[in-house]
């Protein structure tokens, strides 16, 4: 029947009760029998003091105080306002039946208080005097009006408590909802980071394991074949150096990504494209970068896709393209999303044997966002990757 309060809350409630009690001291002095009034005020103050600790006890103490007041023939007094505080607390903190005990007390107390007061005014303090035929109709009218007023005031105190209780519950559930939302976002972020790391690990395996397998096979093969065909050595050494060089470029990019993801820093966004372009320029590409259209907010997962597609395309341009000619990078904002396009010149000659894991990975990224990606050769000399990353559905409607 008691609630868990902190020491501070208990002390505050006690001090408030004492102060309120002391403030009513003048009314105690002016009342017909100050002794009885003093007992009533002390009891009501005690009820106020425990109103949060045990609302049911507070209400019972208040009833007890009223009983003493009535039996001591004391008229209603200003200090009875303390009952409002107790009723508020019952509505606000009482659980289950305690709250209904508060409502019943507000109505019953209102009727008792008005009957008693009207009896005092009209009948010199006794119920019997009211029942005299001369007084009856006036008395009944007065009792009904006074009861309505008293019940109204007492019930408002209780109802205010109930209202406060409900708004606090709503606030708590909103806070809980917010906390859950935050947790969900954090979990999503963790998944994105985890996926990035897995992808890097997979790429690392593809690059390192495949390239080294080729290097080993070529070196061993040439060593054995050279006994009978010395000319194979040169071709094998060329293959080995090309394979190793391409692998080193890939490893460098992957290590940069890994450092980025391990630093716990944010994933790269569309705004980081400038930095990417600078990095790739430093690596030896002549990049023409242009952004057009009206940029609008886009979820992180979509922005990462845009960045990674640009990064992968530029890495491919560095590995397979003609580095002496410019590479164009365009970011074009359209009404339903953003288009990222990378076009580079390739050296004339046989087209690179396999489209590689890179294109498949980029397409997967684009499709995961609900977009699409086209990678194609244009004529004999150029290679173009174009991806459309759309806004998510609800966002698109809001923008429309």
């Amino acid at each position: 029947m008691t609630r868990d309060l902190t020491r501070t809350q208990l002390v505050v409630d006690g001090v408030v009760a004492i102060v309120v009690g002391v403030l009513f001291l003048p009314f105690v002095m002016l009342s017909p029998i100050p002794g009885v009034s003093a007992v009533v005020v002390i009891l009501l103050a005690a009820g106020l003091a425990v109103r949060r600790y045990s609302p049911a006890s507070a209400l019972s103490i208040a009833w007890f105080a009223v009983a003493i007041q009535l039996s001591g023939q004391q008229p209603a007094n200003v200090y009875d306002a303390m009952i409002l505080g107790v009723l508020y607390a019952v509505g606000r903190y009482g659980d289950g039946w305690v709250r209904w005990y508060g409502l019943v007390s507000a109505i019953g107390g209102g009727v008792i208080a008005s009957v008693y007061t009207v009896a005092q005014v009209y009948g010199g303090g006794t119920i019997i005097s009211m029942v005299e035929p001369a007084n009856l109709s006036v008395a009944i009218f007065s009792i009904v009006t006074a009861s309505a007023a008293a019940i109204f005031v007492l019930t408002i105190a209780w109802g205010l408590g109930v209202l406060m209780r409900q708004s606090a519950a709503t606030r708590a559930s909103r806070a809980e909802q917010f906390r859950l939302e935050q947790e969900r976002r954090l979990a999503e972020r963790t998944i994105v980071v985890e996926q990035e790391r897995n992808r890097i690990a997979r790429d690392m395996h593809d690059v390192v394991a495949h390239s080294l397998a080729v290097v080993i096979a070529q070196a061993d093969g040439a060593r054995y074949a050279m006994a009978t065909a010395p000319q194979v050595g040169e071709a094998a050494l060329e293959t080995i150096s090309e394979t190793a060089r391409a692998a080193l470029v890939d490893v460098r990019v992957l290590l940069a990504e890994l450092r980025h993801s391990q630093s716990g820093g944010p994933q790269p966004m569309i705004g980081d494209l400038d930095r990417l372009v600078e990095q790739m320029r430093a690596a030896g590409l002549d990049i023409r970068f242009e952004e057009s259209g009206e940029a609008r907010p886009m979820p992180a997962s979509h922005q990462i896709a845009v960045y990674r597609i640009a990064q992968e395309s530029l890495t491919n341009a560095l590995r397979h393209g003609d580095r002496s000619r410019p590479v164009s990078v365009s970011v074009i904002w359209v009404p339903h999303g953003v288009v990222v396009r990378v076009q580079n010149e390739v050296l004339p000659g046989p087209v690179s044997s396999s489209p590689g894991h890179g294109i498949a990975g980029m397409r997967e990224r684009a499709e995961l966002t609900g977009g699409r990606l086209v990678a194609e050769t244009i004529g004999d000399e150029a290679f173009r990757v174009e991806a459309l990353i759309p806004f998510p559905q609800p966002l698109r409607e809001a923008n429309a």
Partner: protein
């Protein structure tokens, strides 16, 4: 046996890797690469057309992977009643679950892609001759890793082995070659070969590497006593 070289089919999706292996294998007078294939499906077709003696099979490939291709080749040959090629699975990892699956489906052994060239060449000759298992301790290690180290009860057909066959089974399961077993048992190599074929037939096994796996999975061999040259 004729003087014709051992024909090898090479199945791997990396053309530069295939080129290197081709140089290595073709440098040997007794070995020749008869064809290359860039994925499992092409590999199955070439195997059926050319009937190579040995297939070097990569595990991870587009279109059809090495596990499926291994199953398909063995099924086709078994259905036709023709002796199937010996299949060596090539893998990047020493504890590759896919390699273990390929061995269960009937591959004759597995090799790491960075294995030494002498070992690769010896492995082709060994599985072709069928007189020893390649990398027995690595094979048991692989199964211990992917199988979680549990063993199942010994099937009843194992008790049909004679005591001589039982001994030879244990030597073969430990990775000894026919010549080594012959020396241990004071019999000829031909006798060992006969016994091995009979053991494989009784236990319903395709070849020696299945014997090693069988012994390991039924707790019949102590991994610590494996032959060292694996």
């Amino acid at each position: 046996m004729t003087d014709a070289p051992i024909s090898v089919l090479l199945v791997d999706d990396q053309s530069l890797f295939r080129a290197g292996i081709r140089m290595l294998v073709d440098s040997q007078p007794d070995l020749t690469i008869v064809a290359e294939a860039e994925d499992g499906a092409v590999g199955v077709a070439r195997a059926v057309d050319l009937r190579p003696d040995v297939v070097l099979m990569d595990v991870r490939m587009p279109v059809m992977d090495g596990i499926e291709a291994t199953s398909a080749i063995l099924e086709r040959f078994d259905a036709a009643g023709v002796p199937a090629p010996r299949i060596i699975v090539l893998t990047t990892f020493d504890l590759d679950e896919a390699a273990a699956t390929a061995l269960r489906r009937g591959a004759s052994g597995f090799l790491l892609k960075d294995t030494h060239p002498e070992f690769l060449l010896a492995a082709i000759r060994t599985v072709y001759a069928g007189n020893a298992v390649i990398a027995p301790s690595a094979t048991v290690e692989l199964f211990r890793h992917v199988g979680g180290g549990t063993t199942s009860p010994v099937p009843p057909e194992f008790s049909t082995l004679t005591s001589r066959e039982h001994d030879i089974f244990l030597f073969a399961a430990a990775g000894l070659s026919n010549a080594e077993i012959a020396a241990q048992e004071f019999v000829s190599e031909a006798t060992v070969k006969t016994h091995i074929s009979r053991v494989l037939a009784k236990l319903g096994l395709r070849d020696r590497v299945q014997l090693v796996i069988y012994a390991y999975e039924h707790g019949l061999v102590d991994p610590g006593r494996l032959h060292p040259h694996g």
